[in-house]
């Protein structure tokens, strides 16, 4: 049996999460048996042969001009065609905007189970077990799959890519039927978000602001610290509900669940629904004037003080550090 990995591309570029998916597929193949096969749906080859280094032995390419943009129905049919051709034991996706939309469609068409947004996979008795956070990370659910292929989507940044020396992946065309009638939802254009910033779920460093900022104009101090750290700006639910920041910035149970290397919470008291969304971060720093704030219970390092004094001083210190090491 093989492991099939969905290779996500956008604008002719393979997305970083696809290398993480191939990395986990490679580790699973050692326990469940291989080979690792990729399937990519695109208008043209985004350099798939290079994925040999990331663990793929071959990659099937479903090519159609309509696939220059995401086309849910068309993508789903192409991936199902790949499953029929490869007959994998496991099918993996990245849990991205595309992956989380596509994987359930494929599961529904195949009549099999899907575990979305997994943070760990294991093989027990030759079968896949998927672990996924529920209640925005307040608990972990472990799932088994009575049918094959078992389908899972993997949370970005939760799995390591691998690097294999050696041969290129064989790129093979995938035969599939394109049904224009099925593809009645069409992406007409992409609108970049302000500043084309990285998505929170894909960020290594996040600086989030809360009510303690006192007003939307004061997020400038957060943005400056974020810039010095190479971080993405996040926000608590309170400030999103108040309209200070867009919903795409919200971290927590009705926003995004994030696992960066470093999470800096500024002026955020730490409501349970916020903590759920960020407590899997590797290192958490909290800056708050209230020493009793619940955020300090999950923070690795806490700093008690007035953020309007502390944050600009921290920004300055980080900049000095960057200059010294840069």
């Amino acid at each position: 049996m093989s492991i099939l990995a969905f290779i996500e591309q956008r604008n002719g570029q393979v997305r970083p999460v696809s290398r993480e998916v191939l990395g986990e597929a490679t580790r699973l193949a050692e326990k469940l048996g291989g080979p690792v096969v990729g399937v990519c749906v695109a208008a043209s080859d985004p350099g798939l042969a290079g994925l040999g280094e990331a663990g793929a032995t071959r990659v099937l390419l479903a090519k159609h001009e309509a696939f220059a943009q995401y086309d849910a129905a068309g993508y789903a049919r192409a991936v199902v065609a790949a499953v029929e051709a490869v007959k994998p034991a496991v099918l993996l996706f990245g849990a991205t905007a595309i992956g989380k939309d596509l994987a359930p469609r494929v599961a529904a068409r195949l009549g099999v189970g899907l575990a979305n947004d997994c943070t760990a996979l294991s093989a027990e008795g030759g079968k896949l077990i998927a672990t996924r956070p529920v209640f925005a990370g307040k608990a972990n659910l472990k799932l088994a799959f009575p049918r094959i292929p078992a389908i899972a989507s993997l949370r970005p940044r939760a799995f390591a890519a691998v690097t294999r020396n050696g041969s290129a992946a064989a790129v093979e065309p995938l035969a599939f039927a394109y049904d224009a009638q099925a593809s009645r939802a069409r992406v007409t254009r992409l609108a970049a978000s302000a500043g084309g910033k990285a998505d929170l779920t894909e960020s290594e460093v996040i600086v989030s602001g809360g009510r303690g900022l006192k007003g939307p104009e004061n997020f400038k101090v957060i943005e400056e610290l974020a810039e010095a750290l190479g971080a993405t700006v996040g926000a608590s639910r309170a400030v999103v509900d108040a309209g200070w920041r867009p919903h795409s910035d919200q971290v927590g149970q009705t926003g995004k669940t994030v696992s960066p290397k470093l999470y800096v919470a500024v002026g955020i008291s730490g409501a349970i629904q916020h903590l759920a969304g960020m407590s899997s971060s590797r290192c958490i720093v909290a800056i708050n004037k209230d020493p009793e704030a619940p955020i300090f219970k999950v923070a690795d390092y806490g700093l008690v003080g007035d953020l309007f004094e502390v944050v600009p001083a921290l920004t300055k210190a980080v900049k000095e550090l960057n200059e010294k090491s840069g």
Binding site: P104, G113, N116, N140, A185, A198, I272, R282, Y301, L303
Partner: protein, 249 residues
């Protein structure tokens, strides 16, 4: 225009999760049950479209045990016209839910089907796109902006670092993201009227599970951190800790 809104009853987001004795599910003791917050955006959008058009019907549908009727009443109080309760006393996986809902929704031939982008309990985000496939409807997930132009909708969905603008010909299915609209509160008049609105209870067809729950576990608690210090004076210590202990900067 007939619109169907799928809603789910979930534990309130302030819930402290405890695992039940079976080791596989949420301990329901002391839990406050609410209408899934993302479903409120779905319902609000359907209601505002009905109001703008001055006609049409909004049907809410939910799958679950007897308890979900209170959530359906909340949806009726917000303004839905009638409700369907697909009775299922055992939890079922996302595909089972999607199949049971599809069986009830398909004969209604709705112009639009609405769901929240995910339920805040299992965070699965699956039933919407599965239902789109089962109903053979074009579907757009995580809709953050919506405009209706005759039989065509122009919607935006958030993707990594931007937004996709998608054109869809109705009938179609949408899952809603926060930021799409501001859900209304039920008025007293709405709450009174909801008591007289019909809830049609139907049994869910038995489904063969495609997922098996092995366990539900609480994550290991984070090791207690420490307060580095007070105010600006503590910054050198913080920088040192981040560089030398945590090695993150």
């Amino acid at each position: 225009m007939l619109q169907v809104v799928c809603v789910k009853q979930v534990a309130d987001t302030e819930t402290r999760v405890k695992v039940a004795a079976d080791g596989k599910s949420l301990d329901p003791a002391g839990v406050t049950w609410i209408l899934n917050p993302y479903d409120e955006f779905a319902l609000e959008q359907a209601l505002s479209i009905r109001e703008k058009q001055g006609s049409g019907e909004v049907v809410v549908i939910s799958l679950g045990g007897a308890g979900v009727q209170s959530t359906l009443r909340s949806a009726l109080a917000m303004g839905a016209d009638r409700a369907i309760h697909v009775r299922a006393d055992r939890p079922c996986d996302s595909l089972g839910v999607a199949r049971a809902l599809a069986a009830e929704i398909a004969p209604l031939k709705p112009d639009m089907v609405w769901l929240g982008r995910q339920a805040v309990d299992d965070d699965a985000a699956q039933v919407g796109p599965m239902l789109a496939e089962l109903l053979e409807l074009p579907g757009v997930t995580m809709v953050a902006h919506f405009e209706l132009d005759g039989s065509k909708a122009v919607v935006e969905r958030e993707i990594e670092g931007g937004r996709e603008v998608v054109e869809v010909t109705l009938p179609a299915l949408f899952t809603t993201d926060k930021g799409l609209n501001q859900p209304r509160y039920a008025s007293l008049k709405g709450i009174m009227a909801a008591k007289k609105k019909p809830i049609d209870e139907k049994p869910a067809a038995p489904a063969e599970p495609v997922l098996e729950v092995v366990s539900l576990e609480l994550p290991p608690p984070r090791g207690a951190g420490r307060i580095v210090g007070q105010g600006v004076a503590a910054i050198p210590d913080l920088i040192r800790a981040l560089r030398e202990e945590a090695k993150v900067i």
